[in-house]
Amino acid sequence: MNSAMKKYINNKIVASLLGLLTLVSMVRCSHDYPIDEDGLLITGRGSCYVSNFELLGTDFVSVVTSTTAIPATSTTPAIPSTRNVVIDTTALTINVEVALGTDLKNLYPQFTLVTDAKLDPKITGKVDFSDLSNPKTYAVISGNRRVRKEYTIYVTVQQ
């Protein structure tokens, strides 16, 4: 093989490598994963539920009441204090009792959702829960964005 031919083959190899590199770069630039309208990843998860719920007052302190713990006696075991939030994932309800004197017009709800799920509408600030006869509803949307469940929040005020 003469030197001119060697040079030609070398140039060919370099050009091929460059072409391959460009192709790889182009492929890498495309989106591998689908995202929704909020820029959130759409995953394969179909679970759709609320795992915890909290309500904060204007002072950012929880307004949810808790039962008083009962100490153990010689015949009965101790009963610990529990928060008065009942989340029913079948009936899609959240029953919450708030303390006497809670300012229902200015509450910050906090939801804990299953992995990859999202909430609709989004919580952007204070929410008015004062109309107890028209309870608020929030929808949970699953990670694959195919399941949507409307939860209703029933607030009662401690008497």
């Binding site: 002072d59 009441t65 039962t67 009962i70 006497l100 004197g101 017009k105």
Partner: protein
């Protein structure tokens, strides 16, 4: 010429750079300027409230062989308040301070106590001094409220040379502040934001239009466990609030204002709380306050909590900070900042 060793040249140059860069310059004590100089800092922080004091530290110095400092003075654009006890009002220190090993101020007297006439506060040095820092306190007068105040610090040396420095302008807050009022259940339980004072029922009956808040303490009957704890305790409630928040209270005739209240926690303004927290409520906080959805009661208030308040006529906005609560004597100590909105 053969360029056989040309590739070794960059390495050699790099080594040379390292060798040069590693050389340490010997430290030299900076030479002081051969002139009379001064400098000033403002030491006090936060909104500048009427009857509070601004504090500055004014430093002046000249080389020892060039003479001594003869006098120092401060000219305020608005005369400060002078008190009978000079150190309680506007004054320029006649003592220089250094800090001892325990962190305490150690004073050295360098001049006679300052004199303030009108805008001018002055000290004449009585001790040979070529470098000193003097503190200046300016007690803000009522007439400066909402205005800007500037200060001109100046010093004169024994050669007649003068140095000076301008500080400011500083905006004087339009807020009012009252510290440590005590409200007690069933006695001094009526609060007027307009007067920034507390009243008994009899006094409140005479000025019902000025009563914005009612203080009360209630210990509610607790249902047996596991019923949740029912707490009312210390409360600030508008006279027009739902009577459920005024249990056992008979309001004096005409006391009926619907004051707006927003409960807060951990907003420990340094001027109200006088604690270590570097938080200051300023005029802007009141101007930007959104009371559109505010309620008219706040119960179960704790020490170091507070409430934002807007009077029913919207003329005043205030922040009532709770310095301390006492369940036993059913009272609480409050401090108030207030801004007149129009």
């Amino acid at each position: 010429m053969k360029l056989k060793h040309i590739y070794q040249l960059p390495g050699f140059l790099l080594l040379l750079i390292f060798a040069v860069a590693c050389e340490d310059d010997a430290y030299e004590v900076p030479q002081a300027k051969r002139e009379f100089q001064n400098d000033c800092i403002k030491r006090s922080l936060g909104p500048n409230l009427v009857n509070n004091r601004l504090e500055f530290a004014y430093a002046m110095a000249l080389p020892k062989d060039m003479g001594k400092i003869v006098s120092a003075q401060v000219e305020a654009s608005i005369p400060g308040v002078v008190e009978p006890v000079i150190t309680n009002g506007t004054f320029l220190e006649h003592r220089a301070y250094s800090t001892d090993g325990g962190g305490n101020d150690k004073a050295v007297q360098v001049a006679d106590p300052s004199s303030t006439e009108g805008n001018l506060t002055k000290v004449t040095l009585t001790r040979d001094t070529f470098a000193v820092t003097l503190r200046y306190f300016y007690k803000i007068p009522q007439e400066a409220k909402g205005q800007k105040v500037t200060f001109t610090f100046s010093a004169t040396d024994s050669n007649g040379r003068t140095v000076s420095m301008k500080m400011g302008p500083y905006t004087i807050s339009a807020m009012d502040m009252v510290l440590d009022s005590t409200v007690t259940d069933n006695t001094e339980m009526y609060i007027s934001i307009a007067d920034m004072a507390t009243y008994t029922a009899a006094q409140a009956a005479a000025i019902p239009d000025k009563i914005d808040l009612v203080y009360l303490y209630r210990a509610l009957v607790q249902q047996p466990a596991p019923a949740p704890a029912l707490t009312f305790k210390h409360a600030l409630v508008a006279p027009a609030a739902d009577p459920v928040y005024l249990p056992g209270v008979t309001l004096p005739a005409g006391v009926n204002k619907d004051t707006k209240i927003i409960k807060t926690l951990n907003l420990r303004d340094q001027q109200l709380a006088r604690l270590q927290y570097g938080i200051f409520i300023d005029d802007l906080d009141f101007e930007k306050l959104d009371t559109s959805t505010a309620t008219n009661f706040a119960i179960n208030l704790k020490g170091e909590a507070g409430v934002w308040v807007e009077t029913a006529d919207r003329q005043y906005r205030a922040y009532v900070y709770i310095n301390a609560v006492n369940d036993g004597s059913k009272n609480m100590r409050i401090s108030i900042k207030r801004l007149k909105m129009f």
